[in-house]
Subunit: 346 residues, 2 copies
């Protein structure tokens, strides 16, 4: 029998998800259990493999918190086919347990597409949400920024973007603690008349929505932290997020080239390298856990395939916050309210 | 009478364009004249103001190389209205002189929209080009990358993107000296099946075109230099380019925060700051001049509003290369060939 304590939230970690599964998932889950108060962490996956790591690494984890799932959706599997055929996979089973209300949240660093499909199809959409969305973290001079949609929806209609804005605002408020988050529409100019067809229509809708809409923002405003919530379609969001991932690589390359010029340069770069890494620490996605799937009737968080134990632990921490701050309920209410307003206008 | 030397190319610099006009334009033009062999630099704008700067700064510039234009299109002017009403502006007159074949290239750091509109409407499109485009520089670990379209065309059809790819390839080859430039379609995944509706169709067309098409590339590939030419619509291109502009600002902010932690940190950052600036030098847009407008029957380059003299000088250098490498002629031929191929397939 599971040792539950009243009031604590039950979070399942997919032991089989990610490029370094099950190792990183198990180690991260154990860390989360140890460090986060008020959380009951569960591991789902191949029990024997999980047990093996626990004993090899000499880690303590309650055996009754391991949920057995015999199949694994691999990183390269086709998402929809995989969730149809691998019924006893950790991802499918994890989502079913959330749907059935037995657990509060499910986090996985596994196949992103499969997590999205399973979360949407098994857990189900919140009433009124046209499309579940992913919101992703971006560092800025003004604190954490939420880019929404981060890649779940590539061809979007204005109505979808408004829903993303609503869901992103709730997330920024509840998870990042931003009061009345500023919402910006990512565009190619500040003026209302700027942009493509979709952004022009979206601007008009956002102005009318109950949001702290500050208008269009440009690419350069993201890192300034001009808006707490940056609204865009998943095509743009995904490209910008992945582009940002490449910055550290370019910096390393440029510093290497610079160091190669002279011995003195090499010395300077050698001395400074650790400081730069330290300064860039807040931009590390591992610090911010994974990407939440918003608009579904439960908490589901998707991690980077290369997530380390720290990222897994932080995914649990974010999930906990989402549960405690009742993100699902608040999203449902906000979307309902927006729907009513829209109907009133007709 | 103008002192011309045979074989040299005649490039007009807009003296009135940009946030620091005419000062930076005049100083940059004089530098270009001094440092670039085989170029005759001309200045267009309010003669009295140009002369005033030349005398104040004690700069030598042939009086018969100053072309008088009495009006100025301001940075905030509506582009199409401005080129219709300000007939004697430096931008309108500059483009007319290119159209009339009296000069080889026109560079301006003025109102981007007005330069685009004037170049397209006055100089005219190359036969077969659906939409003139802007290609912009981006640094990478593999050398200069051309992002095309950089913001001229926000809603694009697949055919437009293929034309951008053709024009970008010619530019990368002739201006950056890349043999058989690799062309990548900016997308949200590497697989052919990834992306939005437009990118799926574009992929199919690019495969058939006579280009070194390497398939889809993702945001993180840009800084790696995976492709020499990154094809996208102007909405995505503009957002990515402006986002990149914000990187230095974020770095500064993070280093400042890091320095504030302790005296030792402050010391380290202080010592290293100049090295970092030095290492980042190749990413400075001022080093790469402006953004060329491609697909028109002449050479027209648009500079950043905040261009310094160095950026102006480098715009002249790029313009010279475009003239000498007969970019217009090569673009015309390539577009014609693509059109024929397309007809063959029908």
């Amino acid at each position: 029998m599971t040792s539950t304590s009243p009031g604590s939230c039950k979070i399942i970690v997919d032991a089989m998800g990610g490029d370094f599964a099950p190792l990183n998932c198990v180690v991260g889950a154990v860390q989360a259990q140890k460090e986060l108060p008020g959380v009951e962490v569960y591991l789902i996956g191949k029990s024997a493999e999980i047990q093996k790591i626990l004993s090899e690494k000499n880690l303590a984890f309650a055996a009754d918190r391991i949920i057995s799932a015999s199949e694994v959706i691999e990183m390269g599997d086709s998402p929809t086919a995989a969730i149809r055929t691998k019924k006893d996979s950790s991802i499918v089973r994890g989502c079913e347990l959330i749907r059935d209300g037995k657990f509060d949240a499910f986090v996985s660093a596994g196949n992103t597409g499969a997590m999205m499909a399973a979360s949407t199809l098994i857990i189900g959409r919140i009433r009124g949400v046209s499309r579940p969305t992913m919101g992703s973290f971006m560092p800025s001079a003004g604190g954490p920024v939420t880019i929404i949609d981060a890649g779940a929806n590539v061809d979007c209609k204005p109505r979808h973007l408004v829903e993303f804005a609503i869901m992103g605002s709730i997330y920024a408020k509840e998870v990042y603690g931003v009061d009345n988050p500023k919402v910006g529409l990512l565009n190619i100019g500040e003026e209302e008349s700027k942009g493509n067809e979709v952004s022009l229509e979206t601007y008009a809708l956002l102005k009318k929505a109950k949001l702290n809409f500050i208008g269009n923002i440009e690419g350069r405003d993201i890192f300034k932290g001009t808006a707490h919530v940056v609204v865009c379609d998943g095509f743009v969001g995904n490209i910008v997020l992945k582009f940002a991932e490449g910055i550290t690589g370019l910096l390393k390359h440029l510093l290497k080239e610079y160091a190669a010029i002279s011995f003195f340069n090499k010395l300077k770069v050698g001395l400074f390298k650790s400081s730069l890494s330290e300064a860039l620490k807040s931009t590390d996605y591992q610090e911010h856990g994974g990407v939440p799937l918003l608009g579904i009737k439960g908490i589901s968080i998707i991690g980077h395939g290369s997530s380390g134990p720290k990222a897994i632990k932080n995914m649990v921490a974010v999930a906990k916050k989402m549960v405690e701050h009742r993100i699902v309920e608040k999203t449902e209410n906000a979307i309902k309210e927006y729907g009513t307003e829209k109907d009133d206008q007709v």
